[in-house]
Amino acid sequence: MNYFSQAIAWIADPANASGPNGVWARSWEHLWYTILAVVLASVIAIPLGYLVGHTGRGRGLVVASSGAARALPTLGVVTLVGLVLGVGLIAPMVALVLLAVPSVLAGAYAGIEAIDPRTVDAARAMGMSEWQILTRVEMPLGLPLLIGGLRSATLQVVATATLAAYVGAGGLGRFLFLGLKTQDYPQMLAAALLVVVLALILEGVFEISERVTARRLHTH
């Protein structure tokens, strides 16, 4: 328990708060990495997930490749890309996007797959084009599961973004690795606590957006 109070004291210490290596700057950096990774993963995974969900083709392939992607050790991807492309933000970003893609993909196609086929058939019978079915029926109805997928992706990325500092990028992992090297456990624990706080904030944002979408779907 002693480490915990020391860690809290470390966070509260004004000397650690400001500056480019301060708690605030590193937390923003961490948040920014997380958002960037999830957005990039969404750009890849959402259209692909919609394509699979709408056409019903390639589902087996998607499930198998997300399984394989889950098995990819993030630390391995970070170090591999770090060695090939040099240290910096690219290596951890590639690894974080790879980490986020399976969850977003699963959320996107599962959201469409879970829709009652009769609803889609009814839309088709009303004369909607395939594009209209996708954008006006399947996308809104699949939104809750998509948000669920984004939520678990974000949670995984925010916890794993600490590894970015191992290959020279920033984020809260900086404090972790510095603490690891100097055996400064309170500093490591402080970094961990900050990551958990960040995760809690993001969870809160998702909780609210899930409730808002649920309410919207019910009033329409």
Partner: protein
């Protein structure tokens, strides 16, 4: 390829210690998740509490957990037990939800009719609910096994022996082949264990295969 051939013995021993970290954690999280999943379904308050706690557990970055646990548990920093406990916690974070969903997927009519047939609560759990929850449990266990095997590698940053040391060592010495070998060995290990779980599932639950 030459790096692999020159270091076969090293890869073998790292793979073995990798498995010795991952398998106890996978088994422990499965065994512990069952009663927790049961409790989660039993009461309304316990479901929300347990599932939220499990979700937040997953948000704790693994590296500091590997570092902090020794001081909480009182073992040495490089003691393997810390890694196993940490991995079990992450496994639980995923498995409790699966176990709760799996047990909830058993229909109420089935539960009621087995009670009517004279099963005791414990007998019903083991003879009726557990086998019927099997397929969903297996799906959860497969996710836990794959992610645990991949997560083991993070503990190598603390110097714990497993396939992740190939990343750390390869990165520090600039040997791409070594890092690549580590990645492929980890993925292969995860896929092999996953395949074994699927086979075990077919052997233990032959009815799931017949239905397809």
């Amino acid at each position: 390829m030459t790096w692999v051939l020159n270091n076969l013995e090293l890869i073998g021993s790292r793979t073995l210690s990798h498995l010795l970290l991952a398998i106890p954690a996978i088994v422990a999280s499965f065994v512990l998740a069952l009663p927790l999943g049961w409790v989660a379904n039993r009461y309304r308050w316990s479901r929300a509490t347990l599932l939220t706690a499990a979700g937040l557990l997953y948000a704790i970055p693994s590296l500091p957990l590997f570092v902090v646990l020794p001081s909480v548990l009182g073992f040495g920093v490089r003691d393997r037990i810390n890694v196993i406990v940490a991995l079990t916690l992450y496994g639980l974070a995923l498995m409790v939800r699966s176990a709760a969903d799996a047990l909830a997927s058993v229909g109420m009519p089935v539960v009621l009719s087995s009670t009517a047939l004279g099963y005791s609560a414990a007998g019903r759990f083991f003879a009726v609910e557990l086998p019927l929850a099997g397929p969903v449990l297996l799906a959860g266990l497969r996710v836990v096994s794959v992610s645990t095997i991949s997560l083991v590698t993070v503990s190598s940053l603390l110097g714990v022996d497993n396939l992740g040391l190939l990343f750390v060592d390869g990165f520090q010495r600039g040997i791409i082949a070594e890092v690549l070998t580590g990645i492929m060995a980890t993925v292969a290990l995860a896929l092999i264990v996953d395949g074994l779980l699927v086979l075990a599932g077919r052997a233990l639950m032959p009815w799931t295969k017949a239905r397809r």
